[in-house]
């Protein structure tokens, strides 16, 4: 059990509790929900075995689901995001960078990190709300919810990342 495992476990517990006890109760204008636990998947380092990323993300999604009474919703979306994250990261790493590069503002640079996390977060919000509604009948509402939650979660995530940078 390496130190990395315990650090991941720590983030898992903190993000799960923060989401379930505090953030799940925030429904801004009845459409936006901050989804901070996506930060967990975004910050997996380059080169981490993909099956580990998948299992961790699925577990966090499942934990949040169990508390929110929505089995399968967050776990499905998180698994999809975990499948996509390594491939997207390859597009954003600077040339000649280390094989086990950590993902943060200091390693990727502000601009690249913002775009990288924004793409992942947007994909997550779209998939999450699509699964939640389970139909595209009212697509304007789907887009509004996804967009508003994205904005709120993105702001929160940038705040946390800028604190970590220091």
């Amino acid at each position: 059990m390496s130190i990395e495992f315990f650090k991941r476990l720590g983030w898992f517990v903190v993000l799960c509790l923060a989401q379930v006890l505090i953030l799940n109760h925030i429904h801004l204008f009845d459409i936006a929900i901050p989804l901070l636990y996506v930060y967990f998947t975004i910050t997996f380092r380059r080169g981490m075995p993909k099956w580990i990323i998948l299992l961790w993300s699925f577990a966090l999604g499942l934990a949040v689901d169990v508390f929110s009474n929505t089995p399968g919703l967050a776990s499905g979306s998180m698994t999809l995001l975990a499948a996509v994250q390594p491939y997207l990261l390859e597009l954003f790493v600077p040339r000649d960078s280390a094989e086990n590069l950590e993902v943060s503002i200091s390693t990727l640079g502000v601009g690249k990190f913002i775009v990288f996390s924004a793409i992942l977060l947007m994909v997550y919000c779209l998939v999450f709300f699509a699964l939640e509604a389970f139909s595209f009948y009212n697509w304007q509402h789907w887009l509004t919810c996804a967009g508003a939650s994205f904005a709120l979660s993105f702001a929160l995530m940038m705040a946390i990342e800028s604190i970590r940078k220091r």
């Binding site: 075995p49 689901d65 499948a83």
Partner: protein, 290 residues
């Protein structure tokens, strides 16, 4: 064969991805089934325990408000007991009897607890529905009160529900109230607008009172016992014809968040009502014969 194994080894994470997505989909689709949802839902023991701890913490923060309401209620009840004790000792000249017979006074009032199931506060004529009816002993013209004061009068009764005319009804609610510790009485009238403000009309001009004094039910109607809180005097106006006072009261009952009420059934009401009825009939008869 070895090509297949090589392929699997290279892309094994995709198999895991498909497997996990299938698990998520199964969970999602089985959500409505009893077994699936009960297992994974918040009935789960660990989750339940954590929510219990969290609600213990959050309910602690609303203790102060619950405490304030209980203290006020306590204060009012102590005053009422004090008043009853003095009254009884005046009548019987025996101050020790009350200790033996404390509960007998309140025995004549039977309280039926009920919950409000429908309520409005912003119409000019509001009506309220409670979840007790004829099967529970509720009858028309019984008074309804709550922990903070009066609520209204029962208007219609069915087997399991009743409709109550609350004090916030401009055309039909006229409850007889008096200023506490004096015998001056008037009628409570609500004229729409703020659900916390009502007016006590026909208070004689020689009545003495102060702002902030409590107004309670007078006991002159057969509907409410005397001493049930109505509100506090806020402002004093002259009545329209200048012959009496019109007091603006802040109602002690919060009609907009009412949930627990009790219906007061006074066993002597039937006798009192019949007597009044008989008196009116006999007067009408005398007038006709004149």
């Amino acid at each position: 064969m070895s090509n297949l194994l090589d392929f699997l080894r290279k892309y094994h994470h995709w198999l895991l991805f498909v497997f996990l997505e299938v698990v998520s989909a199964v969970l999602l689709f089985k959500y409505n089934s009893y077994q699936g949802s009960a297992w994974l839902s918040s009935a789960n023991v660990a989750v339940g325990k954590m929510y219990e701890v969290e609600s213990g913490v959050t309910s602690f923060f609303s203790m102060t408000r619950a405490n304030e309401e209980l203290t006020l209620r306590n204060f009012y009840l102590e005053r009422q007991v004090d008043q009853l004790r003095r009254l009884y000792s005046e009548v019987t000249h025996d101050t020790t009897v009350i200790e033996r017979q404390t509960l007998q006074f309140l025995n004549q009032y039977k309280l039926i607890p009920a919950k409000v199931v429908a309520n409005t506060v912003h119409k000019p004529n509001n009506l309220m529905t409670i979840d007790k009816g004829a099967a529970d002993g509720v009858e028309v013209n019984m008074g309804v009160a709550c922990g903070n004061g009066i609520v209204g009068v029962v208007y219609l009764v069915s087997e399991h529900y009743s409709v109550v005319i609350p004090a916030l009804n401009a055309t039909m609610s006229r409850i007889s109230c008096s200023i506490r510790n004096s015998n001056y009485f008037g009628y409570l009238h609500w004229s729409g607008g703020d659900p916390a403000i009502a007016y006590l009309e026909d208070v004689p001009r020689h009545a003495r009172f102060k702002k902030g004094e409590w107004v309670v039910t007078s006991g002159y109607s057969s509907i409410f016992p005397s001493g049930v809180l109505v509100g506090q005097i806020e402002k004093v106006f002259n009545s329209a014809d200048g012959l009496s006072y019109k007091l603006q009261l802040r109602l002690s009952t919060d009609f907009s968040c009412l949930r627990d009420v009790c219906v007061i059934s006074d066993r002597r009401v039937a006798e009192q009502a019949k007597l009044l009825e008989a008196a009116r009939d006999s007067m009408a008869l005398t007038n006709r014969n004149r």
